[in-house]
Structure formats: structure tokens, C-alpha cells
């Protein structure tokens, strides 16, 4: 994929962290967030602070993340519903009796889900799609995974291209472009688009084979990542993990 959908080109220190480091750090950070006991409200505050700090270094505005975070909306709904439908002892909130356990569970999903989305978005915003695959390859993802993922990113462009071509071809011959977006036409068009893209994808695949592709790019001698860069890249995850450790420590 040449552009990348959520990728925001930039040259910040966050952008420059090797992708394998970023991937591991993101996973560790989210795992730390999820493992944190839900009553440790302060720990989530620290987590949020860490995320905000990474954004300011990366130079990506907060508003951008807020807009993208709506992907989580269905679970926010779940979080809002839980206090009303859960069992257990009740407490009064603004005069309404709600389940105490449900309230905590709702908060838990809201806080962890949101932090998780924000961390994943940070990764997506600062890493090129193909670098993500390269990172996974360096982390020894199985060969089949790298092959399918590499082809997949290529083919997103192929599909977008075929879509654009078909649209131009249609409107040039008097089709009303709005009709393309009507339900029936789209459903029927999906099969045709699939075939068209597949056959071009097949030809692209042949071209790749013809030039010696063997399932993955020769990763080359990946520039060795020094301990310092691992620490720098992993520091946000380290802070989150520390917050978790302190919060989870039995006192």
C-alpha cells in the first residue's frame, strides 16, 4: 500500500524507531494496561499521560486521534449499558440506582478499550504499512503470514486502482456516478470488482515472481538495533508496565 490509510508521514523520533521495536512496545503497553486492576484509577492516569507524551514527540495532534478513536464506539455502548444490566449491590449515581459491579466493569472497558485504541492508533500513525510487515518479519512471523500480508498490502492498491478505473469508464459513457453507490449495484459490483482485481493481482503476482520474489523481500541484514534504541523505543511501555506492577502489587 503506497499511501497507508492512517499513516501520517513524519520524521519524528517516534517515526524513526525500528518497526519491530515499536510493535513489541505497543503490545507490551496494551498488555500492561489490560492487566492493571480496574480500581487503580491513578494508574490509568499515568498511562494516558504516557500516551500523550508520545504524541507530542511524534507531532501528531490530539484531535486527530480523537476522531479516529470512534472505531471503539460499539464497546462504549456496552460500557454504558453494563451498569444498568449487571447484578450485585447497587449504588446511587445522580439519583439512579445502578449496579456497583456493572459500573466498575463499564469503566474498565471504557478505560482499557480507549487506551488500547489510542496506543494502536499511535502505532498506525507513525509506521508505514509495509514497515509494519517488515517489523513482523523481523520478529519472526511465520513465512505464510509475511507472504499473505505483503500481497495484501500490494493488492489494496490494485483494488483501489480498479475501482477508480471502472468509475471513470462508467461516467465517461454516460453512467450517473451516484448510481454506483446504490445498494444493489454495489452488491453486484462486488463480485465483478473481485474478479477484475484478482486477475490484475494475478498478473502483478506473476511480475513479482518473474523478478525473483520468493514470498518475502530479502530482509537484508537488518541494521542491528542497539540496546539504547530498544530502551528509548520501549520506554513508554516500561512506564506503563511499572504503573501496572505498582498497582497490582499485593499490599
Amino acid at each position: 500500500m503506497s499511501g497507508g490509510v492512517l499513516y501520517r508521514p513524519g520524521d519524528s523520533p517516534v517515526h524513526r524507531i525500528p518497526p519491530q521495536v515499536k510493535l513489541l512496545a505497543a503490545f507490551a503497553a496494551v498488555l500492561g494496561v489490560v492487566a492493571t486492576p480496574r480500581e487503580a484509577f491513578w494508574a490509568f492516569g499515568i498511562d494516558l499521560f504516557v500516551v500523550l507524551a508520545v504524541w507530542s514527540v511524534a507531532g501528531v495532534p490530539v484531535g486527530w486521534f480523537a476522531r479516529r478513536a470512534v472505531i471503539e464506539a460499539p464497546f462504549v455502548l456496552l460500557a454504558v449499558v453494563l451498569p444498568f444490566v449487571s447484578g450485585g449491590p447497587r449504588v446511587d449515581v445522580l439519583g439512579v440506582a445502578v449496579s456497583q459491579d456493572g459500573l466498575l466493569a463499564g469503566w474498565n472497558i471504557l478505560a482499557k478499550g480507549t487506551l488500547g485504541v489510542l496506543i494502536a492508533l499511535t502505532l498506525a500513525a507513525t509506521t508505514q504499512p509495509r514497515d509494519l510487515v517488515l517489523g513482523l518479519q523481523r520478529l519472526r512471523a511465520p513465512a505464510w503470514f509475511v507472504t499473505i500480508a505483503t500481497l495484501m498490502l500490494r493488492y489494496v492498491d490494485v483494488i483501489a486502482g480498479e475501482l477508480r478505473r471502472t468509475r471513470i469508464a462508467r461516467i465517461s459513457r454516460g453512467d450517473d456516478p451516484r448510481f454506483l453507490w446504490q445498494a444493489g449495484a454495489v452488491a453486484r459490483g462486488a463480485g465483478t470488482l473481485f474478479l477484475r482485481s484478482y486477475e490484475r493481482g494475478e498478473r502483478v503476482h506473476r511480475a513479482m515472481l518473474a523478478r525473483g520474489w520468493a514470498g518475502h523481500m530479502p530482509a537484508g541484514p537488518a541494521a542491528p538495533v542497539g540496546a539504547l534504541r530498544w530502551v528509548a523505543g520501549g520506554s513508554p511501555a516500561l512506564v506503563i508496565a511499572t504503573a501496572w506492577a505498582v498497582a497490582a502489587w499485593p499490599v
Binding site: 497507508g4 490509510v5 492512517l6 505497543a26 503490545f27 496494551v30 498488555l31 494496561v33 489490560v34 492487566a35 470512534v70 472505531i71 456496552l78 453494563l82 444490566v85 449487571s86 447484578g87 459491579d101 456493572g102 466493569a105 474498565n108 472497558i109 471504557l110 478499550g113 487506551l115 488500547g116 485504541v117 494502536a120 498506525a124 504499512p129 509494519l132 511465520p142 513465512a143 503470514f145 507472504t147 499473505i148 500480508a149 505483503t150 500481497l151 495484501m152 500490494r154 493488492y155 489494496v156 490494485v158 483494488i159 453507490w181 445498494a183 454495489v186 453486484r188 462486488a190 463480485g191 465483478t192 470488482l193 473481485f194 482485481s197 486477475e199 493481482g201 494475478e202 520468493a214 514470498g215
Partner: protein, 229 residues
């Protein structure tokens, strides 16, 4: 907002140990799938898997309208099973789930194992089981094949949502009535599954007309008759 996005579990819905448990389930299953279904870069499985992955991914980007007011994306378990078979189908969809989580934050990173189990594994396995059970019908005529594709799409969607209910029962973070949850989640997905089934059938129908050789389910045998039909 698409209803089927709800199937991508976010972080924090399941507790940490359940997340790890289903991560292990997914890895084990995929190891078996990788051993049984080979991705050979030189034959057509690789481009077909890559293209199907990209297609599902692009359909999500486009978020096209299915009905007025309802937009949705194909989640593709049955389509993958019919085109690629149960093993390569599972590999293909697991790539989609992972890349969606990494590139779109769609589905939590710690919920990856659970999401892969539901969508990549249960969805393709059940979709393929249905298609296999009805293979006789699929081979009889074009209409039969489309009916089987529809059914596989419907059932696999419901199966994937049932996976969510089971996971929630094991490691959900609040004690809600499981019966109620199951009713709502499975009910909603039965409706979504109709759309999934229709699109699966239309896609398979378009493909069998021009490139019957791409359909795993019928590839081995009487493809000629199908084309003629």
C-alpha cells in the same frame, strides 16, 4: 457505524488471562492450518489469499451501504472457506484480523487471540463445514452452489458471534446474564448474517461464471458442468 465491527473485541472486555488463553488457542490452530494448507508462492493460493485479504480490507475502508442507513463490510469467513478451503482460509483471515488491529486499531491488541479465534478460525471452519455438508447440492447446479454459499455465510457469522459469547462467559469483566447476552449478540448477528450470506452468494456466483478454477469447493471436480449450467 457498522454492526459487524462489534465483533472485533476491544481491549478490556476480556481479562488478561482469558486473552492469553485465546491467544494460545489461535496460535495452536494456525500452526495446524499452516501445516495442512500450504501457501505456495508459485501457485494460485498465494495471490488468491492475498487478494481476498485485501478485498475484505478494502470493503471495510469503503464501508459501503448495504441498506439505507446500514453500512457494513463483508467479514468473509465463509467466502474464504469456499475459495481457499478451511486451512488457507483461516490463515488468510487471521492476516486480515491482525492487520486491521495494527493499521486501524480495529479490535484490541490483547484481544487479538480471541478475535482471530472467532473470525478467522471459527468463521472459516464452520463456513467450510456447512459448505462441505451441502457439497452435493453445490455441485448439482449453479443455483445450488449459490444457496450453499448463502447458508455458509449466514451460519459462519452466527458461529463467530457465538465464540464471543463463550469467551465472555470465561473471562468477561462483568456478571451480566449470559442468556440475555447470548440472545442479543446472536440475534443481531443472525440478521447481519443474512447480508453476509447474500454477498457471499453474489461473489461466488460472479466468480464461478468466469473463473471456476478459483473455487476450492468445486475445483477438484465437475467444474465444466458448472460453467455450462
Amino acid at each position: 457505524m457498522t454492526a459487524s465491527v462489534a465483533m472485533h473485541l476491544s481491549d478490556g472486555v476480556l481479562d488478561a488471562s482469558t486473552s492469553v488463553l485465546f491467544g494460545a488457542v489461535a496460535v495452536a490452530w494456525l500452526a495446524v492450518a499452516a501445516a495442512r494448507g500450504r501457501i505456495d508462492v508459485d501457485d494460485r493460493t498465494a495471490p488468491l489469499a492475498g487478494l481476498l485479504a485485501a478485498f475484505l480490507f478494502a470493503m471495510q475502508l469503503l464501508n459501503f451501504p448495504v441498506l439505507p442507513g446500514v453500512s457494513g463490510h463483508l467479514y468473509g469467513g465463509a467466502l474464504a472457506a469456499i475459495l481457499l478451503g478451511p486451512w488457507v482460509g483461516a490463515l488468510c483471515l487471521s492476516v486480515v484480523v491482525v492487520i486491521q488491529a495494527l493499521l486501524f486499531a480495529d479490535g484490541g491488541l490483547t484481544a487479538l487471540g480471541a478475535n482471530m479465534t472467532n473470525m478467522a478460525l471459527l468463521g472459516t471452519a464452520v463456513g467450510f463445514a456447512v459448505a462441505l455438508a451441502a457439497r452435493g447440492l453445490a455441485r448439482r447446479s449453479r443455483a445450488g452452489l449459490l444457496a450453499v454459499a448463502f447458508l455458509a455465510g449466514l451460519v459462519s457469522t452466527v458461529a463467530a458471534s457465538a465464540g464471543f459469547v463463550v469467551e465472555y462467559a470465561i473471562g468477561g469483566q462483568a456478571d451480566v446474564s449470559l442468556g440475555g447476552l447470548a440472545g442479543v449478540v446472536i440475534g443481531v448477528h443472525a440478521v447481519i448474517g443474512i447480508g453476509e450470506g447474500v454477498i457471499t452468494a453474489l461473489a461466488v456466483g460472479a466468480i464461478v461464471r468466469v473463473r471456476p478454477d478459483l473455487i476450492y469447493l468445486v475445483r477438484t471436480s465437475e467444474t465444466r458442468e458448472l460453467v455450462a449450467a
